[in-house]
């Protein structure tokens, strides 16, 4: 092996990972060309022994082993591959022998006294192996590099194609600035073969297949043949390699995908001339025969999952998730009916109307005195009902997904010209909710025909070009439906990363001509009830202050104002004369079928639910499900949300430096309201709830169609320097951070401050609106139990032991003071103390960042 590496690399070495057992690439100078690479998986090591068979063809064995007292030992197995079998049965393994790595072997062990010059070898390990009738005892040294050499991206580890397609992959190790990769695959007969490549990890690495000599044969020179290439695509993370290095854990600092293209003529057809996506196995999973049954989630895992899939964990839901398991919980949630926003709001307006309390415009005094309300004046009710649903609706996953979609397909009650409109926005929200687990195609169609979207992005009343009046169609919706709702500005890889030309420039995914053509599609649309009146005054229709009577309906068509000509958008021609509705369907089809849409939408949904800065591999895995749910259907959002939440990157606790996401302000408030049952709040009118919970972020009240933050936002400062994307930090800057911190303080703690008991009105008012800590008050008798409960619900148990200790001590001291004063059982004081603990935790990064 040494010749081989020296040929390619010069001098090498490998960092020490574990105190006890050194990992990495090892070889024996007396058997140059053979070798092994050793990784860690959980408490075990995984060994790949690459070698040659009696014909000199490459072959490999693998094994996992226990580590004890400076020795690692286990079975050695050989894999065979049947490409025709179903995935679960493709790989069969046979145990052929065993290995023992002895790190304690003395330097003068007989294995190392075979006359071979080993001068300069730093650490020697005896590699004792048995394979059938063969056996050997080799004197192995590890390859070295300067330990200070920066390794970013850190890409060492074992990579494979995923649990559904196991059995092949590659292992990699950094060698200074180069990456050494050994690809493990199979030949046409299903025999295990390997190929090796060394190169710049940021570029394709050429692979060579070697002919060598058998394990018991006299060394002969190796012969290399081109075998293909490996194109690793790693997300660069800074500062990651050291994470966990002390524990010997393979860093998860780099994530990415690698594309393997084998040209080895002897390789099985399945591996030849095809691209495979590979991703890195994580600690604990680095074995060929992966698929384990889903274990019951721990309480912390359940809590963590619920902060991604709902508006926040509750004690009851944590227990329920643990009983059901994640899969069954998802099944159940996906089948729950939608809790509506529009219908109850409409009922509220109707109730005011029935009571004769709607303003009719004739009685300024009543308006002035607030004795009547306009039917348009239910914006705060809408916000209030949104909270009630977020906090209490049983279809939590759908509610959370709908909220995510409302940040992709934005309408807002913010613009001055449509301010005070509550009811239409609610109807729009329900359309998002209706299709949240349906097909993205239907969703985009409904959005594109929604009357309030027509108002917000100004294409209701949009008409075909008029040469006389010298007008042309409004381009607003045409632009934003491409830029924001479907394909995005630039051509994307399936990873969601921009594709770049040879100069490194991004490629626009559409041009001004596409916008002009698409603008012609969105002409002739008007509110349904308007269309019924024969479109007589289409000219005036788009004037200010006109709103649909029934916002649940789609817009209708005034054919005279629709441009019936053919339109060529993104290279596809929408034929002439097929009518406005068919035109929109065609446009939606070509946007949904565009290759950008799966990664563009998948990435943003991941950002809203799980992680601000997902790895390209994660995006690609989800985008693949978006492209095809396994049954040939594109755009199945139920499958997409399942793929997002079940993905290994979502399920494992993020150790990468950029893992997780900052909770946006709404999710912070929602989390405490759910954890501590904001039941009392529901007893208030919707108007009061909306007002009371108004914070730094209001659902469906973004400043513009660009949402509260952009999906590519890199906050200035350390995050930007590290290249980390974190959109939510746009709402955590300066005074906004302070205001949001105080909002949480207000709800969790300040409202529980003891007040003047004489002030009965205030006492009653406070009672009506605050969180319900009553079930927690008895737990103060044993503050440790209370703190554990809070840490679980609010932080998925991310608090450290020290943090818990400080909180417990605070509670104990305070309880002692209360007791000494004779108020040990006073409910008001206990409530304030619970509030203090809740506040303290919710003010910590362990609550604010879900990772």
């Amino acid at each position: 092996m040494r010749t081989l590496f020296l040929l390619l690399l010069g001098t090498l070495s490998f960092p020490l990972f574990a105190a006890e057992v050194r990992l990495g690439l090892g070889y024996d100078r007396g058997h140059d060309g053979h070798g092994f690479d050793l990784h860690r998986a959980g408490n075990e090591v995984v060994l790949y022994f690459y070698s040659y068979d009696s014909d000199g063809d490459p072959e490999w064995f693998f094994g996992t082993g226990k580590v004890a007292e400076g020795r690692a030992s286990g079975e050695l197995r050989r894999a065979r591959y049947d490409a025709g079998a179903d995935p679960a049965n493709r790989v069969t393994t046979t145990t052929l022998g065993s290995f023992l790595l002895d790190y304690n072997a003395p330097g003068d062990d007989p294995a190392c006294q075979d006359g071979v010059d080993r001068s300069g070898a730093e650490q020697r390990v005896v590699f004792d192996w048995h394979l059938g009738k063969e056996s050997g005892r080799w004197c192995v040294e590890f390859l070295r590099i300067d330990a200070d050499t920066p390794m970013a991206p850190y890409a060492g580890g074992v990579w494979y194609a995923g649990p559904s397609d196991p059995g092949y992959g590659f292992s990699s190790a950094h060698m200074g600035e180069r990456l050494n990769a050994i690809v493990y695959y199979y030949d046409t007969q299903g025999e295990p073969r390997w190929a090796l490549g060394v190169g710049d990890p940021n570029a394709p690495i050429d692979l060579s297949r070697f002919r060598g000599y058998c394990r018991l044969c006299t060394p002969t020179p190796l012969r290399a043949e081109p075998a293909g290439r490996l194109d690793p695509l790693f997300e660069i993370r800074t500062g990651a390699p050291s994470q966990g290095a002390e524990q010997g854990v393979v860093s998860t600092g780099a994530e990415g995908v690698a594309t393997l293209t084998l040209t080895d003529a002897d390789a099985a057809a399945r591996f030849r001339d095809r691209d495979f996506e590979l991703f890195r196995l994580t600690d604990g999973a680095a074995r060929l025969d992966t698929q384990q049954p889903e274990p019951q989630p721990t309480e912390a895992e359940a809590s963590r999952f619920l902060s991604q899939a709902t508006f926040g964990p509750t004690t009851a839901e944590v227990a329920r998730l643990r009983t059901l398991g994640i899969d069954a919980w998802l099944d159940e949630q996906l089948s729950l009916p939608m809790t509506p926003l529009y219908a109850p709001l409409r009922a509220e307006v109707d109730r005011w109307a029935a009571e004769g309390r709607l303003c009719n415009g004739d009685d300024p005094d009543a308006e002035e005195a607030g004795e009547c309300r306009f039917d348009t004046d239910f914006i705060t009710d809408r916000r209030g009902l949104w909270w009630v649903n977020a906090i209490r609706a049983p279809d939590q996953l759908r509610q959370r997904m709908t909220f995510a979609l409302s940040q992709l397909m934005v309408v807002s009650d913010r613009p001055e010209i449509i301010a005070d409109r509550g009811i239409e926005i609610a109807a729009f929200y329900d359309k998002l909710g209706t299709h949240a687990f349906g097909n993205f195609r239907d969703l985009l169609l409904e959005v594109s025909l929604d009357p309030f979207m027509g108002v917000y992005l100004t294409f209701a009343g949009n008409r075909k070009a008029d040469p006389v009046a010298n007008t042309r169609p409004d381009e607003n919706y045409a632009r934003e439906v491409m830029q924001l709702f479907s394909i995005g500005l630039v051509t994307l890889e399936s990873t969601g990363l921009p594709r770049r030309d040879t100069q490194g420039a991004t490629l626009p995914s559409y041009g001004q001509d596409d916008i002009r053509a698409l603008a012609r599609v969105f002409t002739g649309f008007a509110f349904a009830e308007f269309v019924r009146e024969d479109c007589e005054e289409f000219e005036d229709f788009a004037a200010e202050g006109v709103f649909p009577i029934d916002p649940t309906r789609r817009m209708g068509v005034c054919p005279a104002y629709h441009d019936t000509g053919a339109k060529t958008v993104l290279g596809t021609t929408i034929p002439a004369g097929q009518g406005a509705l068919a035109d929109v369907r065609s446009a939606v089809d070509l946007l949904v079928d565009h290759p950008n849409t799966p990664p563009f939408i998948s990435r943003q949904l991941i950002q809203r639910l799980v992680a601000s800065d997902p790895s390209p591999a994660y995006v690609r895995r989800v985008a693949r499900v978006f492209t095809d749910n396994g049954r040939g259907v594109r755009g199945d959002l139920a499958a997409v949300v399942r793929a997002i939440l079940a993905d290994p990157e979502a399920r494992r606790v993020g150790t990468a430096v950029n893992a997780g996401k900052l909770k946006e302000p709404i999710l912070r408030t929602a989390a405490v309201l759910r954890a501590f049952d904001g039941l009392a709040i529901q007893n208030q009118g919707l108007d009061a709830i909306g007002d009371f919970l108004e914070g730094t972020q209001i659902a469906q009240s973004a400043p513009s169609v660009f949402n509260f933050f952009r999906p590519s936002y890199r906050p200035p400062g350390p995050l930007s320097e590290a290249g980390i994307i974190a959109p939510e930090f746009n709402l955590a800057a300066g005074s906004t951070l302070v205001r949001n911190g105080n909002e949480l303080d207000f709800h969790t703690r300040l409202l529980f401050r003891p007040i003047d008991p004489q002030d009965e009105e205030l006492a009653e008012a406070i009672q009506d609106i605050r969180l319900d800590y009553r079930p927690l008050l008895p737990l103060l008798d044993d503050p440790a139990v209370l703190v554990e409960r809070l840490a679980l619900l609010l932080t998925a148990d991310r608090l450290t032991r020290d943090q818990k200790r400080l909180l417990i001590e605070r509670a104990q001291q305070q309880m002692q003071e209360y007791g000494e004063a004779g108020f040990g059982n006073n409910a008001v004081l206990r409530g304030y103390l619970v509030g203090e603990l809740v506040f303290q935790i919710t003010a910590l990064p362990e609550f604010l960042v879900d990772y």
Binding site: T506, N658, G660, F692, G717, S720, A732, G734, N742
Partner: protein, 443 residues
């Protein structure tokens, strides 16, 4: 629950600056700094960003017969009546009727209108455009991209730095160290003020607040301080923690600085922009307490994306702009800072000359307004030809910029105090353009 009760509850949060605590070192430092600061050497740049793309063609309209006729021929139903325009003396253009205050400022010589500024990498002619032989900024006509380009100042650079932030980096030595950034934004985070070192402090128009738990002090703060610690392994957690600690430091400085602030005579209009500019004046008033000598301010309002209902909406927008800027000018007079503060509007793009019925779509070049005692009043830049076949039009009613964003920025930055070398560093594409200074500043 009645509104009164709600107000009562919310008022539980209000506590002023009581019990802020902290060291006296800050005061001593502030005094030392104010000694250092030469009172005569203070300059501030205020950027008013008109989000959505202001329709420049209806903000400044030709009054001369021929050009007005051409304007009306294209703008048809969206044109403003000729007799409603507010003429600018010495030019054949008039302002939108909602802008009488700015008309007066122009008459006083303190307002420059800079015509047809926009995002460019190199100069673009219609011929070159049609031949496709010229490099164009990416994603022309997209809000987000053009906002970024306007704020970066360099149209083909894709980093997160803006020309004001880089300028603040260059002039860092003018300002003593403080927790509060000398660069303040009242319109959220932005690229414009983000430099390699300088990051704007995102302020708001409300009363200065700290974290209640910090203001109150006591055992809750002690515990929180311990629980927070100093850092985290997760970068997002670490960053939030860092920002929270910074916010407390800023609050301490601000609460002291604002403690003795006397109220202004000038009454600002009750509009979002009025409130933002009023807040700017408060920070200007306490500049000496920080010893600041070079500051930048970012304010901005939306609703400029007038795809429809433009006649009504733009009138509202420009009225808000006019009244707020006029009040700001008065307040600067009150503070004696008219010559020291220069205000410039920016917008991501102008809008199409052609109309879509009752609105206009995303265009390219637009006009900026520059206001201040150091401004050489007048109308700058090439007039719009109002001819779709003209050399300044893409042929579709998009006006090709004749002044680059870079050049507009450079003109402001030279006044701000950057050396020529620094200007070129901040705006590396500036050398692509012939006229590297619009000339609207007295330097």
């Amino acid at each position: 629950m009645t509104l009164a009760r709600r107000t009562l509850l919310k008022s539980m949060l209000a506590g002023g600056f009581a019990a802020a605590g902290g060291s006296l070192g800050w005061l001593q430092r502030a005094h030392a700094m104010s000694d250092l600061a030469g009172a005569g050497d203070y300059r501030a740049l205020v950027i008013v960003f008109l989000f959505g793309g202001n329709d420049a063609s209806n903000m400044l309209v030709p009054t001369g017969e021929d050009r007005y006729a051409r304007y009306r021929g294209i703008r048809t139903g969206l044109s403003l009546a000729r007799d409603s325009l507010l003429p600018l003396s010495g030019s054949d253009e008039g302002l939108h009727p909602s802008m009488p205050g700015l008309q007066s400022l122009h008459a006083r010589g303190d307002l420059a209108v800079v015509r047809n500024v926009g995002s460019l990498i190199t100069p673009v002619s219609r011929t070159a455009l049609e031949r496709g032989s010229v490099s164009l900024p990416a994603q022309l006509f997209s809000h987000s991209d053009q906002q970024d380009q306007t704020q970066r100042g360099t149209a083909d650079l894709l980093d997160n730095h803006g020309w004001l932030g880089l300028a603040a980096d260059a002039l860092e030595s003018y300002n003593p160290p403080s927790a509060l950034s000398p660069n303040l934004s009242f319109a959220g985070t932005n690229i414009l003020q983000t430099g390699r070192r300088m990051v704007p402090y995102v302020a708001d128009t409300e009363e200065i607040r700290g974290l209640v738990v910090f203001e109150d002090g006591g055992p809750s703060w002690t515990l929180h301080d311990q629980l927070l610690g100093r850092t985290r392994a997760n970068a997002l957690a670490a960053e939030h923690l860092r920002r929270k600690r910074d916010a407390n430091d800023v609050f301490l400085e601000l609460s002291r600085a604002f403690a003795n602030l006397s109220p202004m005579q000038t009454v600002f209009p009750a509009s979002p922009l009025g409130a933002q500019l009023e807040a700017v004046t408060r920070y200007l008033a306490v500049r000496d307490q920080f010893g600041f000598r070079r500051q930048t301010f970012f304010v901005g309002v939306g609703d400029y994306d007038t795809h429809d209902n433009q006649l009504v909406q733009q009138a509202l927008n420009l009225a808000q702009l006019d009244t707020a800027l006029t009040a700001f000018d008065a307040a600067l007079g009150e503070l004696g800072l008219r010559d020291a503060v220069t205000t410039s509007t920016l917008s991501e793009f102008g809008r199409t000359l052609t109309i879509n019925g009752d609105g206009t779509d995303h265009g390219w070049a637009g006009h900026n307004l520059v206001l201040g005692g150091a401004v050489r009043g007048g109308v700058y830049g090439a007039p719009t030809s109002f001819d779709l076949a003209g050399a300044d039009d893409t042929g579709e009613g998009n006006i090709i910029p004749s002044i680059s964003n870079d050049t507009h920025a450079a003109t402001l930055l030279r006044w701000f105090g950057l050396s020529e070398g620094e200007v070129q560093q901040v705006l590396p594409n500036l050398r692509n353009f012939d006229g590297q200074d619009v000339g609207f500043m007295n330097v």
